[in-house]
């Protein structure tokens, strides 16, 4: 599968970031494995450690398996002054995990992130590709419950 993704792009190093995005999006656990790194390194003819360096530089990539739903809560000043700390506390209680951890059922991973550019609706979080704004503790509970029901 990884080889097929690579082949969509010309074997140039400047396609690395786009290739990594696509591999991670296609992975059910939203991460990039060591095997994937090796395959990409061979295809682009660059050292695997260069790729590892890139992977760990950018916040959107993960080198560890993650849950089905990745929660990224914004902790930048506009969300912070609107109470993102309370939302974080609530999320930790609801999910029973700390930042960077995945729930035992593999349904959620909790992450923090920098400004998402939706500050008009602070505090904001993203779950996978969707934005959730104007968060309150009650609203967060509803959102999490809804996703749990849908599984």
């Amino acid at each position: 599968m990884i080889k097929e993704i690579c082949k969509k792009y010309a074997p140039h190093k400047d396609n690395l970031i786009q290739i990594l995005h696509e591999i991670q999006n296609a992975d059910p656990q939203h991460y990039i494995s060591n095997e994937a790194v090796d395959t990409v390194a061979e295809y682009l003819n660059i050292p695997a450690n260069h790729i590892y360096g890139v992977l760990t530089f950018y916040t959107m990539y993960s080198t560890k398996p993650r849950g089905k739903n990745i929660i990224r809560l914004c902790e930048s000043p506009p969300c912070y002054i609107k109470g993102s700390e309370n939302i974080l506390r609530k999320l930790k209680v609801l999910l029973g995990v700390n930042v960077g951890e995945t729930t035992k059922d593999g349904l959620f991973t909790l992450e923090l992130c920098a400004c998402l550019g939706v500050c008009g609706n602070a505090p904001v979080m993203m779950i996978n590709d969707d934005f959730y704004g104007d968060l309150t503790e009650e609203k967060v509970e509803e959102i999490i419950d809804k996703i749990r029901e849908m599984r």
């Binding site: 140039h12 190093k13 400047d14 396609n15 690395l16 970031i17 786009q18 990594l20 995005h21 682009l44 660059i46 260069h50 360096g53 890139v54 530089f57 950018y58 916040t59 959107m60 990539y61 902790e75 930048s76 000043p77 506009p78 912070y80 002054i81 992130c113 920098a114 400004c115 998402l116 550019g117 939706v118 500050c119 008009g120 609706n121 602070a122 993203m126 590709d129 969707d130 934005f131 959730y132 704004g133 104007d134």
Partner: protein
Amino acid sequence: MKYYRNHILVSINETSLAAGVQEFISSLRNELAKNDLAEEINILETGPLGFFGRGICLTVYPENINYEDVKIEDIPELVQEHFLKGRPLKRLMLGAAEKFSPKFNYENRIVLRNSGIIDPENIDDYIGTGGYEALEKALTQLRPEDVISEVKKSGLKGRGGAAFPVGLKWSFTAALNVPQKYVVVNADEGEPGTFKDRLIMEGDPHQLLEGVMLCAYAVGANKAYIYIRGEYKLCIARLENAIKQAYQYGILGKNIFDSGFDIDIEIKIGAGAYVCGEETALIESLEGNRGNPRWKPPFPGVEGLWKAPTIVNNVETLANVPFIIAKGAEEFVKYGTPECPGTKVYTILGDVAYPGLCEADMGTTLRTIINDYAGGMKKGFRFKAALVGGAAGVILPDRLLDVKMDFSSLNQYAAVLGSGAILVLNEHQSIIDLLWSILRFFRHESCGKCSPCRNGTEQLYKLISKIRKGNGTMQDVDLMLFIAETMQQTSFCALGQSPIMAVRSAIENFPDEFIELTKK
């Protein structure tokens, strides 16, 4: 062309999508059809309407009435009242709760002139409002040097933060006689509180493309990249769609308007790093590397992407160019101040009555922007401070609100106007908390290439955390200033040079809070 009695403009953005706007529109369509209004009332899906109401927001033309937080349950009543009986539904009108009507009439719009009016997914809408006229004029009547001299005459300065004169920047690259040059659009918007570029791209993507093409023609490039942050999914989709349409119309590609000019535009998606807003770090990222900034000089205009001359411009900067070329520099300098012509797009956040997006002439005071454009403070709140320019900006108290918002005036406060973010704090919010949050941000976003920034951001965070807990002393406050000043003088790029702005302005303008917390 078909005529309608009313147009309902529905804002499709990240917020309204989360509120279920697609389902809303189909219900609204059904309700209009049920009342035999489908032929009379047009529904237009558009970009940001210029205000940030909650939930789903609508503007109804020709009355120019704004509704906010409209729910599916409200549709029958809305259709009955407004579209059958012709009485605007007061209950849902924007400002109904605050007894205030935002004065959008103040706005002089250049960059946002189509935003919230046209359908951003339809190239014909853009062309219908005069879109691509500037490109046609440039390619058929003007030489590249004429385009540059027009931009020089307009006095346009970069809207990304550094405020470098755009025409001058282009002329350096245009003068180089090499086979390959590039244009790169910096759409990696990451300054906390800033999302003007997102809204410019969501509301009017073709305007940006036209600006890119004009720039490429002027400097002699035939390949352009738009480097956009990965979280901006809607922007990416709209830009991809716009590029596809432009190719279909022969506006992108080979031999445009039979002029012999070729241009290709490609979207590159970022992966989440604040430092990639720095132009050389952005170029490193485009080349498939970690986003560590490069030594300057040589500047990217001489040696950039794959060592070729590269113009890196911000989204808002390029979005101004079609207006300048189509209408002429004389028209552009009518806006703003003599030193800083044109307008600036702001995002106003925090405890103001109407947080949102606005475009104001350069030189408009902060007080006017907050009081008139954003409707003043929210009921029951008093103004305490405004963080202007995001994390790399300054914290200003009430007595400095009459500062004129343009690049030369703000220089006195060493503020960064570029991002256009204005975050308003009420009297209950703590400056120390705000500063703590800003320094935590820098600590996380430092790329680690140079030690002043890598170590400095860590130390600043530790010191502010200590002060915030009440364990600090005034020596710690002085040490923060010393570290931030050292970083300003010795850091490799603008990231490490920035924390001094917030640190100094917080300490100078709100000394009491530091004294209070360090008393013990």
